[in-house]
């Protein structure tokens, strides 16, 4: 129990079921996992093994049926909608498979808008947004509209949007699924850099071998259970300097 203080994320016997006709599906069936600050971890496993469900709960978008999940000292299962929103706002960045940029806003505004929810001066906002766009190497596209970007660039904007608040945790569900190899590596390199420089914890859910090559911890889920949880030597992204 005392130990959990050193973890950003602790889950204990996490169960999430979904009703399915008369029976129920165990999307998660007793998952106990801990994550420390600065991890670069990935959930792998076949389709339907519970990866997205796990990220959902850790990201305070969903609640467990049983068991507990503590994120940044907050018990997910006890949070109200508003408290959950606040936790996400403060501590968690999301990167989705599709980029989900807001089409009417510029790149700059897409990154800025998550900061609008925080009390922050316009100046400070501007600095942070430009910083985030530098990280993903899109500072020169600040005024572009999402429709003018390639898929890779769009996903980099999404990464900038997730990191602009410098959250301790970033959750990425299949972030490379819509990208070609070059752009996938590009994004992953960026993430590794952020992980190293900001100490941001990354947790992926993925099938993508390209992503898996970058992981330092590989957690295999199978039928809602942790089948394997191993520290691995990343094949890529280790010593690559920009």
């Amino acid at each position: 129990m005392e130990m959990s203080n050193s973890f950003l994320i602790t889950t204990k016997d996490l169960v999430r079921t979904f009703p399915m006709g008369r029976t129920k599906i165990f999307a998660l069936d007793g998952v106990s996992l801990n994550f420390k600050a600065g991890e670069f971890a990935g959930l792998v496993g076949p389709s339907g093994s519970g990866k997205t469900t796990f990220l959902n709960i850790v990201g305070s978008l969903d609640s467990p049926t049983e068991g507990s999940a503590v994120v940044m000292g907050k018990k997910i299962e006890t949070l109200s909608h508003k408290q959950a929103a606040w936790l996400r706002n403060k501590n968690i960045g999301f990167i989705f498979q599709t980029f989900n940029l807001l089409p009417v806003y510029t790149v700059y505004e897409n990154v800025e808008f998550t900061l609008l929810l925080l009390k922050m001066s316009a100046n400070e906002r501007r600095k942070k947004v430009m910083q985030a766009l530098e990280w993903v190497k899109l500072a020169d596209r600040a005024k572009s509209k999402p429709s003018q970007l390639s898929g890779g660039e769009s996903q980099r904007v999404a990464v900038a949007r997730a990191v602009v608040k410098e959250p301790p945790i970033i959750l990425a569900d299949e972030p490379t699924a819509n990208l070609d190899a070059e752009n996938s590596y590009n994004i992953l390199d960026t993430m590794v850099t952020l992980n190293r420089e900001l100490g941001t914890t990354f947790i992926f859910a993925t099938h993508d071998q390209k992503v898996i090559k970058y992981l330092r911890r590989k957690i295999t889920l199978f039928d809602g259970k942790v089948a394997k949880d191993e520290q691995v030597e990343p094949e890529k992204g280790k010593g690559e300097e920009q």
Binding site: L61, A85, E109
Partner: protein, 424 residues
Amino acid sequence: MIKFLLKGIIRDRSRSLFPVITVVLGVSLTVLGYSYFNGVMTSWMQTSAKFEAGHMKIMSRAYAENADQTPNDLAFIGVENLLADFKKDFPELLVAPRIRFGGLFDIPDELGETKAQGPIIGLAVDLFSEESPEKDMLNLENAVVRGRMPQKYGEILISDEFARRLNVLPGQTSTLIGSTMYGNMAVVNFTVVGTLRFGVLAMDRGTIIADLADIQEALDMKDAAGEILVFFNDFVYREEAADRITETFNEKYSDKDDEFSPVMVTFYDQGGMADFMGMVSTFQGVLIFSFIAVMSIVLWNAGLMGTLRRYGEIGVRLAVGEAKGHLYRSMILESLMIGVIGTILGTVLGLGFAYFLQSKGINLGNMMQSSNMVINEIIRAKVTPVSYVIGFVPGLLATLLGTSISGLGIYKRQTSQLMKELEV
């Protein structure tokens, strides 16, 4: 945040165009409708006051009881003395003693045989005294279509439409057959010197305008008048002042026990006036309410379509940690901005039309063919300060209502589904 929302509204036309158009339409129609009703009211009030009711009216108590039948046998006697006193008490008011009378109008041929005949409604007013306000008030000089104004006793004006029907030309002699104050038959000859068109249907059907003294003589009504109309000297009706004057007057001159003593009533106290005013205000209320209702429903649907179309945006915003309440309020704020923009545009548009109809007017003569209302055929809109702000009521209320309902959908979104939804 406001800037962020505004940018969204301005750049995403499908977000703003349809709601703005709805608001513009509703608001401009409200502004126009309101201003036009104002015009109807004002026109009707002015015309009624001039031709019928005055701002205040003095009658004998007995006459007042049955005023709608213009019972001249109950007319007030002693006009001269009363008015002499009255002018001392209320020097700033204008007075116009009148007699309304009915009768048969007969046009003889050279041999004195009846050539044409028709019933008339007559209005006897003081045409010749210096201080009489009648000529100006009834705008007689402009109303003369053929012929000229009466210049001496025995000369009358008749409505042009009636003259054409009876084939009367200015200069012709005619006979009025009526009854005296005491119930005897009165037969008097007049010379028709001009024909009239007021643009007020009730007055243009079959009216003659004669001099008061002539009619007093003809109908045996010396020093008597059915009605003494009293006006504020700027011709603007002021209800409170009218009430006060009426009270003062009645206290001094009226005697409850003497049915031939004079009594004063205000414009509103006369038959039907208050009812009509009430009807028009109700109508205005219904108009604004129905615009609010229709616009709300349209905007509600637009809002629903908007939340569907912006499913992704709402999802992302929830995912990055915007609380549902905050999102809901920002949607309402956004729609209020649309409401304000639409209301301003709609007010400008509505005022444009209203000003146009204020200078041009619409001829409602055909609609009022059989109406006895004393009101101009051409009715103009009347823009008042309220016209400038009235649109904000439906404009803002409807956007607020529409979005508050449609926006509730946000609360149905389950954050647990966001990842899956955002993956498509």
